[in-house]
Every structure is written in structure tokens, then in C-alpha cells.
Subunit: 200 residues, 2 copies
């Protein structure tokens, strides 16, 4: 590989520093500071390593980690969209695809192609790796809200049924984690940090 | 695996959130905000994926990524020590080993043992994986200081010879990256953002 290609890689490494500035809605486990996308991606990758034994299917852990480390890079151009946003959808928008092509396109061609494909696979959510990676992406904010006395559920008036609906995607990656998550969700109702629709 | 073991894993996931509060000396690529250990670990893991083709030896990339994602977890208990600190050494202190045993010890035994071993392998810096992982850990702050108009070199009056000495460890992981790094270091002298010892 030439110095020129190494320079392209360094340009990409430089560009993705911007991921550290993208604020998520969710807060850290024990504070009022918002988490940023780099911290979030780091945490999900570690979680995948720790929790991979609970996956429903045999998974290529390296691929899952690649997905998780780069899944939010597109938000450099295309914004973080809140899971419970009622106006904008998070699903694979044109803006995100354009962002993926621009940002991964900084890399040498073969790597650009690989990362765009991995990002698309994650977004499609069909393969065992994508399903498990997406279950990590849903499980972390659940743990944060439980830890944070309701966190974004309280802040944005999100109710039990919405949480169950959005979080149930966890079971596609891991039934075991979903069983555990359901216990946490029900305990949150008991504690009064998550309300059912009829409650105010 | 039992729910009890899953709870141990979740306790670990919760504990390592503290990595997001540990401030490094180095700043982000384009700002005056200090980088934290979670952002740093994320960036190094992505760099390892992108740059693994430049490693001197055949490496197990998954192991390298594991090393990089968890290498600073010990700093929850044991502090970040600046690379150019003239009083305290960064090398594998008793405090760090104690921290590794406490923090990874939150995990189920087999995972605790695996992570302590991986962390020790990284610290020892002998295997091809450890050498390459450590080259990432030295290369990122170099890129940051170059991008940041001298960054911590200027702030802490670090001179050319110290940089060459500390950064030359990069060549143990990748001669190619070290050749590239040397160009950046020499260019930094030319630009006046890194001084030689005789310069004030």
C-alpha cells in the first residue's frame, strides 16, 4: 500500500473525530451529561464482546464490532435522530446513504466499499450480525434510562408500550437479553420511572 | 449462562461508563476540548481496523480490538498518566493491576480471566497484537498534535527528541506507520509547532 493510500486512511481517521461532537438524547449512566456518538459506539462494541455468548445465532463477532464502531459515522452529515421521534424516521434515509458514501469514500476504494457494505448490512438488520448489533444499540439506552431514574423516558414522556415496542427488536438478536430487558422494563414501571399510557 | 451471570455482565457494563469521565491530556483533532478515554479507545479501535494492513506481522485483529477497547479501563481506579510525565511512569503499575482485577473481576470468572490476560498482554507489549495495538495508542495523539497546531507538545514544552523517542515504539507494530509518522514529526519541526532541544 502506498503512502498516498495511507494518507487517505489518515484523512478518514481525522474526519471521524467529528463523531465525538455528536450529542445523543440519552445521558451517561450516572450523570446529566449527554452521551456522544463516539462514547456510545465504544460502549456498544465492548458490550458486544461481553454479551456475544447470548446471541440467538452463531455470529462473526469481528463483523459485529465493525458495525457498531462505525454505525453512527453517517451522523456527521445526517444528524442523530431520537428513537422515539414521532416526525422523522431513523430508518436508512437518503441523507444517511449520501453521508456514508462521502465519509467512507475518503478511504482507499476497497475499504470504502467494505465499510459502506457493512453499514448497509447493519441498517438492513437482516443478517445475524446486524440483528445482534442492533440489539446492542437498543439495550444500552435501556440500561442508561434504568440507571438514570427514567432518563429520556421521563424527559420526553415516553410510555411503557412505546418502550416495549421499540425495545422488542432486542429479541431478534438475543432472546436471552430480551427476557432480561423485559424484567428491567417491568421493574421500571413498578419503581414509577416508566409510566403506562393510562398513567399521567 | 444464568441470569445471575448476565447481571454480572451488566454490572461491568455499568461500571465502565466511568471511562467516559476520564480526561486525557490530548485534545480532540480540532478543538480545545480534552479527549476522554472512551472516545480515545473508540478511535484507536477504528484505526486498528483501517490500518491493520500495515502491521509488521500477521495479527489477530479481533484480539487487537479487544485490547484497545479495554486498555484504559484500569484508569477508572488508577488515573491517566501523561506519556511525557517525568515523575510517574506509565508502565504497568501495581495500582493498575489491582484496578484490572477489581474491574474485570466484576465479570463471570472465565471472562474476567480472559480480559485480565488481554490487558496484561497489551501492557507487556511483546506479542504482535500488543505491539500493533500500542502503535495505535502512540499514533493517534501524534495525529492530534499535528492537527492541533502542536497541542500537548506546545502546552507541556515537549521537544523533538522526546517525541521521536516515545513515538518510535510505533515501528515495533508497523514500520510503515513509523515511516509516515517520522515525516509528520519532521514537518512539525519545519512548521514550528515542535521545537528541537536547542530551540526556545
Amino acid at each position: 500500500m502506498s503512502f498516498e493510500q495511507l494518507q487517505q486512511q489518515v484523512d478518514f481517521i481525522h474526519e471521524i473525530d467529528k463523531v465525538k461532537y455528536i450529542q445523543r438524547k440519552t445521558k451517561l449512566f450516572n450523570s446529566n451529561r449527554n452521551e456522544n456518538d463516539a462514547e456510545h459506539s465504544w460502549h456498544l462494541a465492548v458490550m458486544a464482546i461481553i454479551l456475544s455468548g447470548h446471541a440467538n445465532d452463531q455470529i462473526d463477532l469481528l463483523k459485529v464490532i465493525k458495525m457498531l464502531l462505525i454505525h453512527d459515522v453517517v451522523e456527521i452529515d445526517a444528524d442523530d435522530i431520537f428513537l422515539y421521534d414521532t416526525i422523522r424516521s431513523h430508518t436508512n434515509t437518503d441523507a444517511e446513504l449520501k453521508a456514508a458514501k462521502r465519509i467512507f469514500g475518503l478511504l482507499p476504494q476497497a475499504q470504502a466499499d467494505e465499510f459502506i457494505a457493512i453499514w448497509e448490512e447493519f441498517e438492513a438488520g437482516i443478517t445475524p450480525e446486524a440483528k445482534f448489533a442492533r440489539s446492542m444499540d437498543r439495550f444500552e439506552p435501556l440500561l442508561q434510562n434504568v440507571s438514570n431514574n427514567g432518563g429520556t423516558w421521563k424527559e420526553f414522556n415516553v410510555k411503557y408500550n412505546q418502550v416495549v415496542q421499540k425495545k422488542s427488536i432486542i429479541k431478534e438478536g438475543s432472546q436471552k437479553l430480551w427476557d432480561f430487558a423485559k424484567v428491567l422494563i417491568d421493574e421500571s414501571v413498578d419503581k414509577g420511572i416508566l409510566l403506562k399510557a393510562e398513567q399521567q
